[in-house]
Structure formats: C-alpha cells, structure tokens
Symmetry: C2
Subunit: 478 residues, 2 copies
C-alpha cells in the first residue's frame, strides 16, 4: 500500500466515488482519474473495469480462463453515452436532410473484391471474414465504396444520399484521441453531373454548418485538389511509382515536422534531397484564394495540365465559398494529400483549431473531425461498361466529436482537476452517492481512511485493510 503516498486527497476521493458509483449504477461511461507522475490524466472507465477484472481473475483462475472485455479498439456505449450520441447524430442527420439527402443502408460487409484497390496503403487495415465456405467477405472500411457499389448496381446516375453507420479499421487504437477500430461515420454524398464546383461547395457548406451547430470551438477546413497534389509531385520529379508513398508522407506534415517528413522521403522512400526540397517548398504553403492565384502563375506548376485544372477549379470553388459566406474558414493547404486511391478532384479535411478546453479540462489535442472529396472514377470501377458517375461527398467523424462533447459534459458535472472538497460532497448529495472515502494528510499518517456517510454526515476512521469489507457491509445494508 506504499503507493498510496503520492496521491492527493482529491484523487482518492474521486477514486472512491467511482468505486462506489460503478458498483451501483450502469454509468460506467464516466471518466476515471488516476495518478501518473504527480498529475491527473484521464483514462476510460472501461480500462479501469478491465484492470479490476484482471485482479479478480487472478484470484479466481479456476473459474474463468479469459478476460471479459470488448475486442481491442471497440467499446460499449452506456445509456448516458447513447443519449449524447443521439443528440449529435440528430444534429448531423438534420443538416443532411435540410440539404435534400435521403438515407440508405448497406450491409456491414461487402464481397472482398468490392473493397480491393480502393484504399491504397490503407487496404491492410481492412477486416476480413473467415472463409467458412461461400463468398469471401470483408467488413466495410468506409461508407463511400458501398455507396458507389450501390449506385452502379442500381444504375443510379443522380442522388443525394446520407448514410450513418459503423465502419471498421484495424488501426492501432489510441482511445484517448477518440480513435477506435469500430467507429461511426456520417456520410453525405452528391452523385451526378452538375455545374462545376457547386456540389463541392455544398459539401463544404454542410461541414461548416454542422461544426458551427455542434459548437465545438473554432475550426478550419483545409482544402486541396488531388490533381494539384499529383501535378506537384510530377513537376518536382517524383517517379510515378512513388506517388502513393509520398502522398502518405505528405499527409503526416502537421503531426510531424517538415524535417522528419523530409527524412522519411529521402530515407525509406528514396527521393533525392533535391526532389524532397522542391516538394517541401510547395507543401509548406497555405492560404486563401490569393495563393490559388499565385500558383496559377507558378512557372513549374502551371505547366502541368492536371495541376492547372485543379487550380482553376479551386479558384471557382472559392467564389462559391465566398458567396456562401464561409471562405474565411477555408484554407487552401498544399500539405493536404489524403491517401485514398479513389479521390480525383477537390479534397478537404476539417480540424478543430484548439480543443475546447475550459478551466480544469485536459486538452484532447487537435484532430480531424470531418473529411471528404471528389471521386469521379469510383462508380465506373463497378459498372460493367465503366460508365462514370461523378461524385463528391463528406464524412463527419462523429466519434471524435463524441469524445469532445462527452468530456465537456463530464467536466461540467464534476471532474475538475482541483474541485473543492465541499463541491465534491455537494455532488455526492445531488447524485445519491452514499459514501465518501477521504484521505488527507492526517489519514495518511494514521494509515486510515475516513469514511463519510453522505446522508448522516457521520465520519468514521477505518483501517486501510478493513475499508473494502466495511464499504461492502454498508452497501449491502443500504
């Protein structure tokens, strides 16, 4: 019990509250604070539950030989979490419907061949089903490829649709960032031939509307064009067969410094330093329509037919964005590459400029909360005659939004870093928590824990070794 030492009185109180809460109610979606290097960091209640479970399993090895948990990178949603999720999804779906989209549904798995050669380097993240005889299947990786398959299969040439559903990716999960292997996507797409850049501008308008409605704090939508990216690689002298790898490298700028990205390009991927530096000069630029105009005059880039088309479309796009009154939130960003194979034109990604930290909240870090782009060739890949249906769409990353809103709501309830003792007791009274375990300096010295009955306000010192039995006794009585 020596490690009790460095914990603060407050940390122990919160821990005790949680122990009591989680044994009493289904609210296991709450946050649990524990002590690392003197500070409080967050961890999901599930991790805590697993830790507890493991300890118990060690005591009961004869009873059960495996840990009861959800698969890696997945989680349950408690009723409280479901309520938050429902609120967010309703806001998103409402916006999609206002823009005239109709909902569809597709199976969670597709024929494996349908997903092949659509995701570039990320294909390795696809979950495949076991061959149990019959068709070879894989869980969908996104909602875009199933939509393209749906259009081709039903010979639909024009459609505004939305689709809310789970997708699966075998990524190394980093749960604290709101990244999971199973997560929900909300997609809006426009299929069909329209005047240039109008559907593209509508997609950006929708992202803007949703992020504004959800009040997640300040955000920025980065925009680029896949043809500009490819044109840039071409004029810088990147060999064709390295486009895909360089794409993935470029996407890391922002998460990594240019120095490290350059190192990856010249090292593992094998670009010459000169080529890498030329790319570096481009991708470190971002701005508004003036940067588009400047690059239209760029002696190298303007000579590339693809890049030129992309830049002209971006110029037109900015005109619509200005008309929509959202141009100020849009940044033309040459480092945005988006590695999926199917993009053919405009691409975009929305990021929160700062996490919505309030006093006492932990920063969640900046992350992408929406993304999308134009994919004019994907439907044609599924059509027996290769007939193309131009498409543009977006995907809202509700999982990350959900983490942010959830954290904010929890924080608004109690979980301040340094809540006053009285606030905590008040919270217990409000929420019906019956017992509080208090460990202050005196209790640490005496090797005891002060147990307070919230209802009667009576406090009794209990020896540390007896505390579990005492809590169990009181709980069974109540």
């Amino acid at each position: 019990m020596q490690r009790l030492g460095p914990w603060s009185r407050e940390a122990w109180t919160v821990l005790a509250l949680h122990l009591l809460r989680s044994s009493r109610s289904p609210n296991t979606g709450g946050l649990f604070f524990h002590c690392v290097q003197g500070g409080l960091v967050q961890s999901s209640a599930r991790e805590f539950a697993e830790a507890r479970m493991k300890t118990q399993l060690e005591l009961n090895k004869e009873k059960s030989s495996f840990v009861i948990k959800t698969p890696k990178g997945t989680r349950d949603l408690s009723p409280q979490q479901m309520a938050i999720r429902e609120k967010i999804l309703n806001a998103v779906i409402n916006c999609f419907k206002c823009h005239g989209a109709k909902g569809i549904d597709t199976p969670v798995f597709e024929l494996k061949e349908i997903l092949t050669e659509k995701y570039g380097e990320e294909s390795r993240l696809i979950y495949e089903l076991k061959d149990q005889g019959g068709e070879l299947l894989a869980l969908r990786y996104d909602l875009t490829v199933p939509f393209a398959r749906y259009l081709a299969m039903n010979k639909i040439k024009k459609m505004k649709r939305y689709h809310v559903g789970k997708v699966w990716r075998r990524e190394s999960p980093s749960i604290i960032q709101g990244r999971y292997r199973e997560f929900c996507q909300c997609d809006f797409d426009i299929a069909g031939q329209f005047d240039p850049m109008i559907p593209d501008a509508e997609c950006l308008k929708i992202i803007h509307e949703i992020l504004s409605t959800l009040q997640l704090g300040d955000f920025l939508i980065k925009v680029n064009d896949r043809r500009v990216v490819d044109g840039m690689f071409a004029v810088c002298g990147v060999p064709d067969n390295k486009f895909r790898f360089i794409c993935a490298s470029v996407d890391k700028l922002g998460k990594m410094s240019w120095k490290d990205v350059r190192q990856e390009m010249t090292g593992k991927i094998g670009l010459t330093p000169d080529v890498a530096d030329q790319i570096g000069d481009y991708i470190q630029q971002c701005g508004g329509v003036s940067l588009v105009e400047q690059l239209l005059q760029d002696p190298k880039l303007s000579q590339n037919k693809q890049a030129l088309e992309g830049l002209k479309d971006l110029k037109l796009l900015f005109e619509y964005l200005t008309l929509f009154g959202i141009a100020e939130k849009i940044s033309f960003d040459l480092s945005l590459a988006r590695g999926l194979d199917y993009y053919t034109g405009v691409i975009y990604e929305a990021v929160l400029l700062q996490s919505p930290t309030q006093q006492g909240e932990e920063a969640l870090g900046v992350g992408s909360v929406a993304a999308g782009g134009r994919y004019d060739g994907l439907v044609g890949m599924f059509d027996p005659k290769g007939r193309k249906v131009p498409c543009v769409g977006l995907s809202i990353g509700v999982e990350r939004i959900f983490s942010i809103v959830e954290q904010r709501m929890e924080a608004e309830m109690l979980y301040k870093k340094n809540p006053s003792f009285l606030t905590q007791l008040h919270y217990c009274e409000e929420t019906g928590i019956p017992l509080v375990a208090i460990i202050g300096e005196q209790e640490l010295k005496d090797g005891v824990i002060k147990l307070r009955s919230v209802a009667s306000r009576k406090e009794v010192d209990i020896k540390r070794e007896d505390i579990v039995t005492e809590i169990q006794r009181r709980m069974s009585e109540s």
Copy 2:
C-alpha cells in the same frame, strides 16, 4: 421473344413500369413481378437487378470479372425502404422507452470465446472473422449474449435496457420469407431480482403492445417453460445427451407434421418409438391456464421437480397476463422448445395467425415475429465468480415485420394481381412515370408494343425490336 406469349397484358405493363422506374429513380426496393407457371410470384428487385447485370456482364466479360452484388443473404435499403423501417423502429423503440428501458450499444463483433457454448446447435451459423493477428473475433449472433457480457463486465445487477442493432447468421437465406443473413433485431431485457413472473409478464405485454400497434393482423404468443421441456424429455426417457437434438426436432413441429418429426426422432436421433410417442402425446397439446392446471396433475410430469417448478411459474404468469388483459392471445404450447442453450425458464414466440393478405396479395406465410425467454445463468457464465443476474427479455423480428409492411404498402400503392388498366394509368400520373408500355391481344398479334405518353395521353405502336431504342430516345429528351 416467343416467351412473351403467356404473359398477361397487366404483367407486361407492370414490367414496363418497373423498367422505367428503375432507370429513373433510386427506388429499386420495389417488388418486381415475373411469371412462373402461369401465375405471378414475387421476387426482390435485387434479384432482377442481378439478372440484368449478369446479362450485361456476359456482353462485357473483358471489362469486369465479378458480379456487382451484395453478399448472399444481405441487401441494401433504398430511401423508400428506409422510411418504412424508420417508422417501424420508432414504434418499437417508443414502446420500449414507455416501459422504462434505456438504450445501449455494443460492438458488432465479440471475442470468439464470448459466443462459444451459448447457442447449441446454432453455433455453426456464427460468422467468424479471419485471424489477421491479435484476438479471435466473431460477429454477434444476437443481442442477448452481448448484453449479458455487458452486465457482467460492468457489474450491473439491475437494468432495463433496449438495443436495436444488426445481427448475423450464416443461414440458407430464404428471402421471400423475410429471412436474411444480416438482419436487424430490437431487444428489450430486464436484468435483476424481482418478484417472480412480473418481468416475464411485462415482456409478453410489450410484445402484445408492439404487434397491436403495428396492426399486422391477428397474432398468438406461444408460451412454454424450458424446465417443462426438459422435465418432459426426462420423464419420457430421452437420454441427457439427446436433449439438444430433440429440442431442435420439437421446434420443427408446425413447420413439419408430427409424423415427420417422429421419423426424425426415431431415425437420425435414435429414440425408441415408444419414447417418441410419449413426447408426441405431450407436444401436440396446447391451451390456456387450464392446460397448465391439468399438467400440474399429470402423474408423470408432476413427479419431475423441474417441470413442476416450471408449471407453477406458468400458472402465476397466466394470473398476471389475465390482469394485463392479454391472456386471450397467449397459448401454452408444449411444442415450443427454443433450442438456444441459455434459456432457463419461461420461453415464448409470437406468430402471426394469418398473413395480412388483402385481395390480390400473395400470402407471406405464417412466421415468428417476436421471441424471447428467461436466461438466469448467462450473466454468471461471464462473471469471474459466477455471480448470477436473473434476466428475461424479448427480441422483435423487425425484418419479417418489415417485409409484411413493405409488401402491404406496395400493394396499397399499385401492385394488385389484377389492377384495372385505368388504375394503373392513374398511378403513373400520380407518381410521374412518363411512359407506359401496353401489350394486349391485338399488340401480341401485331408484334408491336403500344407506347403511351402519360402526360399527352398519346399512344403509338412500336415494333418490338425498336422499343428499347424508342424508350431511350424519349427518356433522353425528357
């Protein structure tokens, strides 16, 4: 084109409407009628789309080497189908919420071990994921086992929850019955210790409320108790190791005659004819509380402790059902066995007494639309200390309900077997279908198809070989 002959004028009109509709709008979820042995039978639009796709693929083999389709036993939902589904789900969820349940969500896959030894003979229907390194996973087979895992993992002793989500079973799909390999379930469960039979009665009340609300026609809820089933097997002399197989056999009564079920019992499973006949005497009985009382006096069955407990509980259950005013829809049915391993007490299954056929509709056949039961041991299987949480619940088979409502709505719209010609034209005007292809006796004789413009009401005879070009020409003009 010789096979044009036996088709009725109406069938051709419907076909032509469909050809036009499916090339114009995303409504591919509609029903398509084709001719088999002189009559009209239904088939999903998807099958039709596949057939068309196959023909095209044969013409374009060089372009695509695989058929674009959804995996076997699965389907997409069009916007029209989504609207129907949403209406049904809202009615179901609303009822669950009125009874105090809160929603949860769980991952679509679980650790494979979680699903092991829960489903008896049906375990072979579980979809497993490919071993790509890491944990061994399987798609959930129902929402009950994930709920039990959730309760155990979070140490929840008491909860009313609902869960709406997809489940997967590798069954031989029979789409016409509304059976799929991927389908949606709506589950309501009550976990916790309560006075006997009150939660069980509430579950039956909920099934009654939902089936009444959805107006699916007359229904019956069959009720039995797993302990009565097991007790019956025991007193009839079925060896312990054959319970599971006999259970599955008994469940077939209704779909198969007693003679055939008896044949299976004495043949493949190897019961003696005498044992089979004793079972037969029991399982051909059904009735109300008077049958329960009669069996409580049964010299054999009443000697079996398990059966006696089950019968006493059923008697109490009927008291509550009478208080709830729903006893008349409940039938104590000894042939109801429900083969899943986890049931421990009351079991039930709701069937529609007749399909809601209206004049001109095809019968869908009688099928189970809701089912459930008590499973007091399942949570304990996941608890390291084996602590039990008694549970009872129900699952609404929305897929079958969906098929019925969808068929009825389509029928209400147009798809009568013999709609008058005027009705059909009126329908075209209402829904904006621009062209009608008419093939009557005269047209058959002349080898032409009469093409009518719905707007102008002008009719022109077109040679059969020119009809496709003509329709395409007119469509491209409109």
